[in-house]
Structure formats: C-alpha cells, structure tokens
C-alpha cells in the first residue's frame, strides 16, 4: 500500500459520514505520521534483544555460576554473536539511504535514543565478538592459529564479561525507550513500561534460546537446564505482568489495537497464550518442582517462547502504527486539560 493510499485508509472503514467525523476530528485523518519502518525493525528488536540478553545470561552464569553452568556460558556467547550479526544489517536495510549508514556515527547525541542506541550497539558488538572469540579459543576452534588462541585464552575472561554486561543490558532494553520518546500514543502513553517489557522479553527469549540449544544438543546438563528454566519462567511471568499493565495503562481508546481484530488475536492467543502462558505451564514442573522434564517438552516450551517473543515485537510496533493512525488516540493524549 502506498503512503497516499494509506492516507485515506483510516477513514474508509467506519462507514461514517463526513459530517460525523468532522465533528470529532478532521474527517478521521491521522494527526501524526506513523513510523515508516518495515519488517526489519521488529525483527531487529527481537534478535537484538536476544543478543543483549543472552550475553547478560552468559556473563552472570560465568560470574556467579560454577562448573555446572559452563554450558550456559558457552552457548550464551555463541547465541549472542549469532543474533547480533544480522542486527546491523537489518537496521541498514531499513534506511531510506542504506549507503549512508555511517552518518549515524557522525555525532553522539544524548537526547536521541537512536543515536545512543547506535553507539551502544557498536560498543556491545566489540564485547560480543571478543567474548565469542575467547569461547572459540577455549573450545579449540582456533587451534589453527596458535598465537591468536593463546592470546585470547590469556585475556581476563570474567572481567570482559562483567564490563560487557552493561552494554548488553542496554541493547536489550533501549529500543523500548526509543519507542517511548515519540508522539505515537500507544508507545508514549506506556513510556515507563516499554523498556522494562523489552528487557523482560529479551531475557525470557534468551534463556529460551539457550535452553532450546542445550536440550536439542542432548548433553547431560540437567541441573544447568533447570536453572535456566527457572530464569525463563520468572522473566516470562514478568513479561506477562508488564504486558497486562500496558493494556490497562493505555485506556480503552489507545488500547484499541490490542482489543480488536487480528492484532487482538495476536495479543491474546499469540503472545499471551502460546508465547507466555503455555511455555510457563509446560516449564513450571521443571522450574519449581525440581522435576526432570523430557527434553522434548523443554524444547517445545523454548520454541513457543521464541515465537511469542517475535510476535511481541511485531505486536508492539504494529499497535503503535494503528494508534498513530487513530486521531482519537492522539487527541486523548493531547486534549487541553485547563479549558
């Protein structure tokens, strides 16, 4: 659909007359412009979140865990690298002028979450690469380059993990702040909830991704898996609570995209049901009762969480677009209060 066609789309649906709509708004036309972002952006929110949070999980397991937690550290570092690599490519692809991507690095601007985010992602990229290289050296993957492998093995692994955890947590959550600092009603109305929601979802997705790989690899690290399942459960519960808070805080007009149509189905059945409720139900015996779950069940719960995490990013971005197109949502936020 072209921008021009979309310009008139919003007012065609209701079957109301020009007179009706002109009383409440300007013929039902949007007050603000929706973000021009395509599928690349929610996909980046999903993958970048996993990259940041799996680095955090690996770093914490490295710092406070023991020998049992080593598989988590190892897989976490590789997952972090694997999900980080496509992230800048997606961001560059979405630009109107991709060949000018480096203009992002002209300046550092504290007031712009996107500028801070670009630099955060750049710094984080260095930590992810270094930690993954160290892990590769420890795993003997770099034995063909003995001096490099020796050098990497000699680096202060845990210090690097501790320093990198900050930028990693930043990358998993700044995108929520980036959405909050706009005029889009659904995003800015929930400005205190967007960042926390993205952090919770990123950690839940990351622990799911790591436990999916560990359970499919089929090695004997049940104790590590159980710890991961607990983290997975806690962060999923946090995400569910935050998502419910978002709907409540939005109020009926701004929450309309969550309550209506296909997107409402995605919210209720997709994100809340299949992405959060079902994996929590499947994982509870393992996380809290100390039961040893069949690997298939763990893997299924993890897979559902990952699908739910991707759907969440799609939901939040699309609901923002819908609320930007709805003049009543904008007016609810900006109506004069002192007249």
């Amino acid at each position: 659909m072209t921008a021009y066609e979309r310009r008139w789309e919003t007012r065609r649906g209701g079957g109301r007359s020009a007179g009706d709509e002109a009383r409440e708004s300007y013929y039902g036309l949007p007050v603000i412009h929706r973000a021009p972002w395509r599928w690349e952006i929610p996909t980046y929110f999903f993958l970048g979140g996993i990259a940041g949070a799996s680095y955090v999980v690996a770093a914490i397991a490295d710092l406070v865990g023991g020998r049992e937690e080593r598989p988590i550290v190892r897989v976490g570092r590789y997952v972090s690298l694997a999900t980080l690599i496509p992230s800048p490519l997606l961001l560059i692809r979405d630009l109107g002028r991709p060949e000018r991507f480096h203009h992002m690095l002209r300046i550092f601007k504290v007031r712009s979450p996107m500028s801070v985010g670009t630099w955060g992602l750049t710094v984080f990229g260095a930590f992810v690469t270094l930690s993954a290289l160290i892990q590769a050296a420890e795993d003997g993957l770099l034995d063909r380059f003995p001096p490099l492998a020796r050098l990497l093995r000699g680096l202060p692994r845990r210090l690097i993990a501790a320093l990198g955890a900050g930028p990693a947590l930043f990358v998993s959550g700044y995108t929520g702040v980036l959405l909050a600092a706009t005029a889009v009603p659904f995003w800015t109305k929930n400005y205190l909830l967007m960042g926390p929601l993205f952090v919770a979802s990123a950690l839940s997705n990351a622990s799911a991704a790591i436990s999916l790989i560990l359970s499919l690899a089929g090695r004997g690290d049940h104790r590590a898996l159980r710890k991961l399942e607990r983290l997975h459960w806690i962060t999923s519960a946090g995400e569910a609570l935050l998502l419910a808070a978002v709907r409540r805080n939005s109020g009926p007009t701004i929450a309309r995209p969550l309550n209506e149509g296909r997107l409402g189905q995605v919210y209720r059945r997709g994100v809340l049901g299949a992405g959060l409720g079902l994996p929590m139900l499947l994982g509870a015996p393992g996380a809290w009762l100390g039961r040893r779950l069949p690997r298939g069940v763990t893997a299924l719960a993890a897979l559902l969480t990952l699908i739910g995490g991707a759907l969440l990013r799609y939901l939040i971005v699309t609901a923002g677009h819908r609320s930007a197109d709805d003049p009543q949502a904008t007016f609810e936020l900006t109506r004069a209060r002192d007249r």
Binding site: L169, A181, Y191, L231
Partner: protein, 290 residues
C-alpha cells in the same frame, strides 16, 4: 524570550519561548479563502514533485495532509451542522460555515524531529528555523513519529511513477529565499495575507491584536495556536509558525496540548535500568552456584 503582554486566558497569553530575532509565520485562518496559492507557490519554488492524484470525496481538500513533497496543506472544514447536529438557520460571523487553514511545519522552539535525529541532519538555522540537511539525512525515519504534528515524512515515492529519494523532507521556511532577503514563497503568494511572514515577536503582537479585534466582532472562539498555552506546550515552548484559529484545535487536526516526545527519555531510561537490575538479580539468583 519575547516580552509580550500576558493575559490570563489560555490561547490569549501570547507568550512564546521563541529566541529573539527568530522568524516565522502567522497563519490567520480567518483570512484564508482556500485558494491553495500557498500550496502551488511552495511546490513551484521548492521544485517538489506532484503527489499522486486522488479524490477524497469529503471536502475540497484533495491534498490530504503534509508530507515529504507537500509542505503547505490547506484544510477545509465545512461546518454543516452545529454542535448539537442541527443545520444552522442563521449564518455566523463571516457569513460562512467554512473553516480553512493552511497548515505548515511549526518550526518548534524545541523540535521533536530535531531532538530525535541521530545523524545531526536536522539543524536549527541562523533564522531559528528547523531544516533537514539533505546531504546528511540517511532516511532512518525516526523523526517521523517524533513530530507531534505529523509534519515531517520520508520520501518513499508513491509506488507508481515516482521513486522517492528515501530522505526526510519538510518545510524549510524557504531557507534559500531567507538567505537572499526574500519572504517565503507561500507568504509571498498569499492573496489575502492569511500567511504573514516576519519576526516571531512582531507577529505575536499582531496576532494578539487580531484576536482581540475578532473577539470584539463576536468571534468568541478566536485564539492563538502556537504559544506556550496551546500548541506549544509540554516542553515545546512555542511554535515559530503559529496560527489564529476560531474553533478548537482538534477541528483542524491539531493537538491542543502536545508534548516534546523526548521529555520521556529520562524517566523511560530510569524505568528500564530499574527493570534491568530487577531481572538481572533474578538471573543472579537463578544461575548462582549451589
């Protein structure tokens, strides 16, 4: 700071945070006759490509809204019925039920698009106007949802004949004409002086006098849109391109009390850090050695 006489009624206070010497527009909607000369002059001077032709079927407004290649937009509001939905039997002031307004970039004192821009492409000029440097913009699109007025847009083409340049565009307040000591094309072309160009402090004085006159003549709803009380609220601190309206701003598709979006950055960041600490602690407790 402009030193204008403060009055107690919102929309009549006329206080603005505009910097001394800033230039802008006063768009007096009571003088607009909907001729769209401003739209045409803008397109001509700035060599903006045509939009895809379409028919809204709603009013005389087939332009729709402001966009990457439409920097002036004349809104047409036909007030067919009164507030209670009845057809009026007597004409109000100006003997017409039409409201017409030539909308434009507001050149905010604190501009959401400029704050959001991660490349520094959007700058404040020596005239205190807000301009997108076309050789810097990389089309990230973050300025678009950051504008509380729906002004700036990416030129992504119309999907048919024309291919967009992928960059963000909006009114420059005719930066090139200002450099040469000329007034912007739309103000120059406006046959009724509905669009007036000048220093913001002078225009604000003129607007206050005009609102007072209109109210004396019985136009009770006349007010300024774009001072600190209406339109330039929430950290925006005033609009260098402001308006005289005779109906609530929503009627013209304008937000009454918008907010600078970046006001949310610090509280949102603090909330995110707090969540990071809470969930980080959960991770420490879950993963620690036992």
């Amino acid at each position: 700071m402009s030193t204008t006489v403060a009055r107690d009624r919102p929309g009549l206070t006329g206080t603005t945070g505009a910097r001394p010497g800033a230039v802008g527009f006063l768009t007096d909607t009571t003088l607009c006759i909907g001729c769209k000369a401003c739209e045409v002059a803008c397109k001509q001077w700035n060599q903006l490509p045509m939009d895809e032709l379409g028919f809204t079927g709603h009013s005389y407004d087939n332009t729709g809204d402001l966009g990457a290649t439409t920097w002036r937009h004349v809104a047409f509001i036909e007030r067919i019925s009164d507030e209670e939905g009845r057809r009026p039997t007597s004409m109000r002031a100006f003997q017409s039920n039409w409201l017409m307004m030539s909308d434009v970039c507001k050149h905010c004192v604190y501009a959401g698009c400029m704050e959001a821009c991660p490349t520094g492409a959007i700058i404040r000029t020596e005239f205190d106007t807000v301009v997108v440097q076309q050789d810097v913009c990389n089309g990230c699109g973050y300025c678009v949802p950051a504008c509380p007025f729906g002004v700036i847009a990416l030129d992504l083409g119309d999907g048919h004949a024309r291919i967009g340049d992928g960059k963000a565009h909006k009114c420059t307040l005719c930066y090139d004409r200002l450099r040469d000591g000329l007034e912007p094309a739309c103000a120059k072309a406006c046959p009724t002086d509905s669009i007036q160009f000048g220093r913001v402090e002078d225009l604000m004085d003129r607007a206050q006098q005009r609102v007072a006159t209109l109210r004396e003549q019985g136009v009770a709803g006349a007010h300024i849109y774009g001072d600190r009380a209406v339109g330039g609220t929430g950290g925006i601190e005033g609009l260098n391109a402001f308006f005289i309206l005779t109906a609530p701003p929503e009627v013209y598709n304008l937000p009454a009390q918008p907010e600078l979006p970046q006001r949310k950055t610090i509280p949102a960041s603090l909330a995110t850090v707090a969540a990071g600490l809470v969930f980080g602690l959960a991770a420490v407790l879950s993963l620690r050695r036992r």
